[in-house]
Symmetry: C2
Subunit: 341 residues, 2 copies
C-alpha cells in the first residue's frame, strides 16, 4: 500500500520532478554542494577541534573584527575591506590600506562571507585556515600595518577585552596576536549565507526559476564547475590562464603561487561583489563570465549563454546573518596611541 | 490621612533626600538637564516639523550613514569618523579623510551621539541643524570628497535605495544630496545615550555614587556648567581662552568663528572619546579638565578637584542604542565607480 501511494504520487508529477531531479543530480555530480540546512551538519564543516566555536568567542570575535584599533592608525578594521554591509567586500579594485596605499599586487579584497568553505585562504592560497588568514592583514604594511607587539599592547591595555579573553580561554591564557586572530576566525566562520541555490540542491525544485535552471545547466555543461565547485563554488587552487591570456593580466603582475595556481573565488553573492578577478579589473559580471570562458575553458560563450549563467548567479545571493553592531570597550591611558604615519 | 502618610515617609529619610535634593536642585539651577525619560517628551526635543522622524526614515538613514559609497573613494562612510562602536568618534587627534588627508585645521571628529541636543553643529557652529551638518563632510575635500552630483548619481543608480526614498517621500520626490542628508540626520537624532546622570536628575538620588556627587558639586561650584550645560552638557557657542592661552593652541591654528567663539563639546560619554579639545591634542581627561580650569575659568583646580570631576564623568557614560548592522543594496552597472585619487 505504501509503495502504491508512492507510485501514484510520482506518476502525477513525473515530468517536472524527473527533469528537476536530473539537473540536481547533474549539479551534485559536478561537485556542487549545498550549505547544510541542519546546524549539526553545518558545524561538522565549519568547526574545528583546535578552535571550537562558542557563543562567547563569536561575540568577542565580532568586536575584534569591527575594532579599528587592530590597525596602526586606529582607522582600519577587518570590516573596512571585508565590509559585512557590502557583501563582505569593499567595492574597490585593489584593497586600500594604511596611508591610503593600494595593495602592491593590486589584489582585490575577497569576500569574508562563506570564506569558511574555502580550502585555501589568500589569493595565492598560502594557508587553508581563517585563523592564519586573520593574522595577515593586521600586520601587512599596506593593510592594517600593526606590529604583533602593538596589537598585544592595545588589547591587553583594555580591561574589558582582557576579561572577555580570560573568561573564554582561562585565567592563565596569554592574549597574543594568535589568540586575537583565532577569535576573529571563529566569528568569521559564522558568516555563511544560504540561498535559493541551497534549497534547490536540497530538493526544492521550485527554488530556482526556469531561466536560472537553464543557466545552471550551461554553467555545468560548459565546464565552469570544474573549478567553481564544492559548497563555496570556489575556494580551491587552480591553474590560471589555462587556455588564453587574461586581458588585464599585467595589472599588478600577480602570477599566483609558485605553481602559477590562484585561488578560485567563491561565486556566492557574486552579483554583489564587483569588481571581479584577483586584480578587480572587470566590473561587469557578463564580461567576467565571457573572459573566464576564454582564458580558463577555451570556449567562446555566446551572449545567450553568458546571460544564462549571469541569471543563474541570482540564485547564489544569500541571506546574511543578522549582526548587532558592537559597542567596543573604551581605551585606557595605557593603550598605545594611533600612528597615522 | 494622605498628607500624614507623606509626612511620615519624608521624616524617615529626611537627611539623605534633602541633601540629594539640594544638589539636584543646584544642578538644575546651573542649567543641567536630563534626557527626557518619556518618548513623547524626547520627541518634542529631537523631532522637527520640517523633517519628521519616522521608522522608515531612521532605517534608510542608518543605511546611508554606514554606506561608504557616499564618499568619492567608496571607502569612507559617516561611521568612519563618527564610529558608533567607538562612542560615536574615531579615536584619532585630527580626522583623517580622503587620500589619508588630515583635517587642515587639525580638527577632531566630535561624537555623533547626543549631537541632536547641541544648539550648534561644527566646531565653528556654522549651522544649528544636523541636516546641514550631514551635507558637510560628504562634500568636504579632506573628508569624503564627493561632489553633489556624484552622490546623486550613485544613489539614483541603486533601485533599492530609490524605492525606499520614493516610499518615504513620495513618487515624485527628487533624490538629491539634501534629501540624503536629511534622512541621515533623522537616524542621527535617534542616537541618544541616557545615563545614570539622567536618572539622578530625574530624582533617583542613588543613581550617583557619593564620589560622583562630590564631583558634580565641584563641577558646578567651579563654574564648568557655565558652558557645559543643557541636556548635552555642551553644544553652545562660547568664547575660547577666556582666562589664559590653551597650551596646544598653535596646533591647526583654529580660532573658532568670526567672534572667536567655539562649540562647547558635549560631556556625555566623555571618558570614551579621547583625545580631547578641538584639535585632539590632549589624551588624558584629567589634564583636559585642569587645562580647562586655567584657560576658561581662570582657576587652578587642585588634584582632588580634578579627580572629583573626572569621577563625576563616569555617570555620563550612557547606554547606546542597539543597532543592527545594515545589509546595503548592491551597486549596479550604472553606479559611478570609486575614485581613489
Amino acid at each position: 500500500m505504501k509503495l502504491l501511494n508512492s507510485l501514484v504520487a510520482v506518476s502525477c508529477i513525473t515530468v517536472s520532478v524527473f527533469a528537476a531531479d536530473a539537473l540536481i543530480k547533474q549539479a551534485k555530480d559536478a561537485g556542487l554542494e549545498p550549505i547544510p540546512t541542519k546546524q549539526k551538519d553545518l558545524m561538522k564543516i565549519i568547526d574545528s577541534d583546535s578552535n571550537k566555536i562558542t557563543p562567547a568567542k563569536v561575540e568577542l570575535g565580532k568586536k575584534l573584527y569591527f575594532d579599528p584599533r587592530l590597525s596602526k592608525s586606529n582607522l582600519i578594521s577587518c570590516n573596512t575591506c571585508h565590509n559585512l554591509a557590502l557583501a563582505g567586500a569593499d567595492l574597490v579594485p585593489a584593497a586600500i590600506g594604511h596611508k591610503w596605499t593600494a595593495n602592491p599586487s593590486h589584489l582585490n579584497s575577497p569576500t569574508v562571507y562563506n570564506a569558511v568553505f574555502a580550502k585555501s585562504q589568500f589569493w595565492d592560497g598560502r594557508d587553508p585556515h581563517l585563523e592564519a588568514q586573520a593574522q595577515g592583514p593586521i600586520q601587512a604594511m599596506p593593510e592594517m600595518a600593526a606590529s604583533k607587539e602593538l596589537i598585544e599592547q592595545r588589547i591587553n591595555s583594555i580591561p574589558e577585552y582582557v576579561n572577555e579573553f580570560k573568561k573564554i580561554y582561562g585565567k592563565e591564557s596569554k592574549i597574543d596576536l594568535k589568540l586575537v586572530a583565532d577569535t576573529i576566525a571563529v566569528f568569521e566562520k559564522t558568516l555563511t549565507t544560504p540561498s535559493r541555490f541551497d534549497d534547490y540542491l536540497n530538493g526544492n525544485e521550485k527554488a530556482l526559476t526556469k531561466d536560472e535552471k537553464e543557466g545552471l545547466k550551461v554553467f555545468i555543461d560548459k565546464g565552469c564547475a570544474t573549478c567553481h565547485n564544492g559548497i563555496a563554488l570556489g575556494g580551491t587552487m587552480q591553474p590560471f590562464e589555462v587556455a588564453g591570456k587574461y586581458k588585464h593580466a599585467e595589472l599588478g603582475g600577480f602570477k599566483g603561487n609558485k605553481d602559477g595556481h590562484i585561488k578560485v573565488p567563491t561565486l556566492r553573492n557574486i552579483l554583489e561583489t564587483a569588481p571581479y578577478y584577483h586584480n578587480g579589473a572587470i566590473w561587469d559580471i557578463k564580461e567576467a563570465i565571457a573572459e573566464m570562458g576564454k582564458i580558463q575553458l577555451g570556449v567562446e560563450l555566446n551572449e545567450k549563454e553568458v546571460n544564462a549563467i549571469a541569471t543563474f548567479f541570482n540564485s547564489l545571493t544569500g541571506t546574511k546573518p543578522k549582526i548587532e553592531y558592537p559597542i567596543l570597550p573604551a581605551s585606557t591611558a595605557a593603550t598605545p596611541k594611533p600612528e597615522a604615519n
